[in-house]
Symmetry: D2
Subunit: 346 residues, 4 copies
Amino acid sequence: MMRIGLCGLGYWGKNLFRTLSSNPNIELAAVADANPQTRERLAASHPTLKLFPDAMDLIADPDIDAVVIATPVSFHYPQAKAALDRGKHVLVEKPMCTTSAEADDLIARAKLHGLTLMTDHTFLFHPAVRKLGELVRSGALGQISYFDSQRINLGLFQPDVNVLWDLAPHDLSIIDYLFGEEPVHVEASGYCHVNPGSPDIAYLTFHYPNSMVAHLNLSWMSPVKVRRIAVGGSDKMVVWDDLDRDEPLKIYDSGITAQPRQDREMILPSYRIGDVTSPRLAGNEPLVDVIEHFRKVILGEAAPISDGHRGRRVLRTLERAQAALDLSLGQVQAAMPADHYTIAAE
Amino acid sequence: MMRIGLCGLGYWGKNLFRTLSSNPNIELAAVADANPQTRERLAASHPTLKLFPDAMDLIADPDIDAVVIATPVSFHYPQAKAALDRGKHVLVEKPMCTTSAEADDLIARAKLHGLTLMTDHTFLFHPAVRKLGELVRSGALGQISYFDSQRINLGLFQPDVNVLWDLAPHDLSIIDYLFGEEPVHVEASGYCHVNPGSPDIAYLTFHYPNSMVAHLNLSWMSPVKVRRIAVGGSDKMVVWDDLDRDEPLKIYDSGITAQPRQDREMILPSYRIGDVTSPRLAGNEPLVDVIEHFRKVILGEAAPISDGHRGRRVLRTLERAQAALDLSLGQVQAAMPADHYTIAAE
Amino acid sequence: MMRIGLCGLGYWGKNLFRTLSSNPNIELAAVADANPQTRERLAASHPTLKLFPDAMDLIADPDIDAVVIATPVSFHYPQAKAALDRGKHVLVEKPMCTTSAEADDLIARAKLHGLTLMTDHTFLFHPAVRKLGELVRSGALGQISYFDSQRINLGLFQPDVNVLWDLAPHDLSIIDYLFGEEPVHVEASGYCHVNPGSPDIAYLTFHYPNSMVAHLNLSWMSPVKVRRIAVGGSDKMVVWDDLDRDEPLKIYDSGITAQPRQDREMILPSYRIGDVTSPRLAGNEPLVDVIEHFRKVILGEAAPISDGHRGRRVLRTLERAQAALDLSLGQVQAAMPADHYTIAAE
Amino acid sequence: MMRIGLCGLGYWGKNLFRTLSSNPNIELAAVADANPQTRERLAASHPTLKLFPDAMDLIADPDIDAVVIATPVSFHYPQAKAALDRGKHVLVEKPMCTTSAEADDLIARAKLHGLTLMTDHTFLFHPAVRKLGELVRSGALGQISYFDSQRINLGLFQPDVNVLWDLAPHDLSIIDYLFGEEPVHVEASGYCHVNPGSPDIAYLTFHYPNSMVAHLNLSWMSPVKVRRIAVGGSDKMVVWDDLDRDEPLKIYDSGITAQPRQDREMILPSYRIGDVTSPRLAGNEPLVDVIEHFRKVILGEAAPISDGHRGRRVLRTLERAQAALDLSLGQVQAAMPADHYTIAAE
């Protein structure tokens, strides 16, 4: 049985713990977490589990075949590097690391040692995203013209990421999964209401070579939580509302029809409105599939869905978006009057 | 009784006709429309109405006290100018004209002749916008941090406007009404899926001196119609969904609370979630109020809510947004491969 | 051209006036209304229209080929009878008259004189009801097991009808249209909160010979308006929400599957959940189709969809429901303490 | 620390297990379950827990202070009786037992031995029901005129209960909690589509002495899950939609206003439509509160919210509803043609 070690028992780490424990083909053999109370509780309830205060010690343990890294982002690179160098397969949380250069290095090491390197973009295992993938790849939607995402809520402000790095990886991994292309042009704007230099609202536009435009509206400042992605094609359009319990995915047999007009320069298209279908989405909890998929990829039984290259492409686009955002923030700062408002600490 | 002439009986002109006819203090004395069938039908049903094929002849008619201009945008300026020069009050459809220079000229003429010049930004008479105005001005929302609008549908492509000029005037007039400021910085991106050079999708970001950021997501390519504006303040947040029959306006007693943290550089705010209130919105059909307001402003009984200055500010921001959009479209064009896709006429 | 007279210009009469006027194959030749102001306004705007204070005089006018009766319910029978006896076709508002005996008499007279007698159950011309009819008759839903309607709102209390006679005719005509059967057993309960003896809430259960059960929840006391009908079949189930602007009709490919169990007496069925489809519903305003249908039936070009027999069956079921309701109210009255509450006039 | 034994580890028993385990003031000392595999799994993960195949042996264990009974309904009475007779406090799942006579006996035994006897009507600890209770008792709603519940879904058919006994206890316990009265008159109808004699759809009407009418629409045959309760008062009305994630409880400042009319016999009330408020509902998971409440009641630190008397009243109303349902089913059976349809095993 494959012996796996888990680094980090924070919010997402707890889900990984539960999921790794319930997979009958995996032995969750060790856990590393810096918090002594977390380790004490685990020692009581799981007396046979190896516990480490330092993830590097877990990684060094020769009993472990593979590691799952769910520590803060800045630790991803050194821990993944150490694990690969010690011959262990790696599943690392998103974002994969902090720079695409780090990602390049990890990919090279995994290749050198013949090891599996995966990024945990859990959404790619979500039944709605799989269905979207089928619809895009089968051509059912026709030529794709836009991807529009609204991902807003009252956000949990975090010390080490801004709203871009917190929320955009979800959309960027889904775009990469659906279309497999990197944008040719990136635009961004945003605002830092709380911490100067750290946007809590960001608007992003990505232009793709196939003429698709993608737009992300990301916010930590919305009283209403929205998780809504629309994908428009020349034949059909799809809206995925992740918070709709009953009909999360709707396929609209609607579109724009362009007719030739010889008598005028412009095309005045008409639109067509047809049925709406909400397919039944069945499937496991996505994280259960992520873990089983990781196991199968290690054993050579499956091709990786979310490998290091995908993680690196997402990172590279995040870096470009951050640069565009920095440019915009600087221009706005220059244009603003000196005393403009932020939500200051009282 | 005030005698009013109506220029243009298209889609919106028909609504103006009905509204002007039903105001008991106004006599709708004349109508101009280029379509002979339209005039014939009117002659049959309204034998006492004066009919003109050419709006300029209606404007020249000495029996008319005031004109309402609902012709295509390019006619607004010459018709309004002629009317003002002949001593007639003017209510002109939005957008007021095609350039802010034209608007300046109309404002100057109205001032010179002591006449009323109003732009028909009907939404400013909508009960929800009035309520929003009360909430903003009373300080109930606290310091405003964002205005976020989604205005998307399967669009009626029009020969003389793009999606920006079709949809943005609504949001820009509402922003001007609520906050009375012009943006210090304007950003835009978009895409032309159907007609090169004429965007059918546009994303706009406006930065205001009071540190508010406004974002508009405009599209003629969405199978689902959305008309949703969110306004976020430091104390409360409001969402107006114009298509929600039952509770179009919701006030969220929710927000971000920033606490001082002396031990660290960053502010890690927490959020607060409270009750949601949906106030009863009562009132006339907005256009009925527009017309009655126009009458009262002419008689000096009311101060104008939507005067030429407001119309000009909206125009000026549209011009800046168009320039930002042109810049973005050019950059994307340059970055794109040569053979990229548009919805070509078949 | 067929010359039609309209009796009654109340709430629904105004809609009939507009619809009759816009049908190019019909001449709306005369209108009767007891209100002198109504007649004066009409005389001004429609100088060629014949106007009568008394519907009986309109009915006696030899120039009229057919009459549409939209007067209060108690007038339906005498006016329809007079019209039929004078050789005029009749379209009468719902409910057709006040007793099924009256309906029998009208049906007999129409047959005797070879005239068209139709009841205006407008909902039968609604695109959603037509679609429901297709689904039921094609067998797409399988064996129908229930019809469940919620028809509640803050009601306009009316002097001459209770909530049963106000709201149930809609559902009963739809049931008659879909299934063409009368119930074998009728049950009812309700409550009179405002006027003793006149229920403002009614719950009705109808049992049909094909083993379908129909339930109606009718109320004038609900702050939220609901117009929702669910039809369940062994293969598919349908929900029609008449207030849902975007997807009023949803077809659920879901159901109950009963498997044989030889080892036990009971059947423990499992359920099956599949896709949801919302068909595009296109069509005219239903009343436009009602009027054109009436014209065609008179000319022998169409078979009547809502004839006197359907109107009579609806009436007969209403009578049985009223009797069941009376029985229940009496039993509750007897069981109640003497001083129980009603919303008394203050 | 209080030592509690749990009888039954089925669907709800698992929730009780988790909740009992996480209460720091309670020791979950023993579990009884007839399934050997369930006991084996528990033995592995919880080596210190006492396990019994037979609940009666757990009940006889002198180490146990109190028992929670979550076995099938027919076992509730003998197990609760045995526990009370051995001096143990009892929390029993709903419905409390199978007849009100059994409930009377349990209440008498609990009184005789001075023990706590509670029924687990979990909904009474739900934040929405508590808020409803505040609104009703404070008089904020005015005089209550109706309680209307829709509780429908594709049902898990169960061998020992029909839809009435499965779903009505929720509503009946809430009504008892809100109003504390038993109905003066009970009416019921329903249908048995799957198993003769065992309704899968039931419509119930209860008349209360304060002139409130309550109606329950219960179904195992609906493709859409609905959990919606409306409570109407003379001043305000409330709708609780348990499946609405964002605003489950809405308070409508709307109602019926009856004005005196001296000139006529009938009262023609008008209606009033005001704001809608959705209060923030905060609180624990209800079952956590149930367990802590049970502990406090045993210690004399709290008065029981859901005691044996409440459980008995719910049972008594269920019995009356079943009798009314039987009466109706018999009458329908008699009226039906011989060969009418049921969903037969294929």
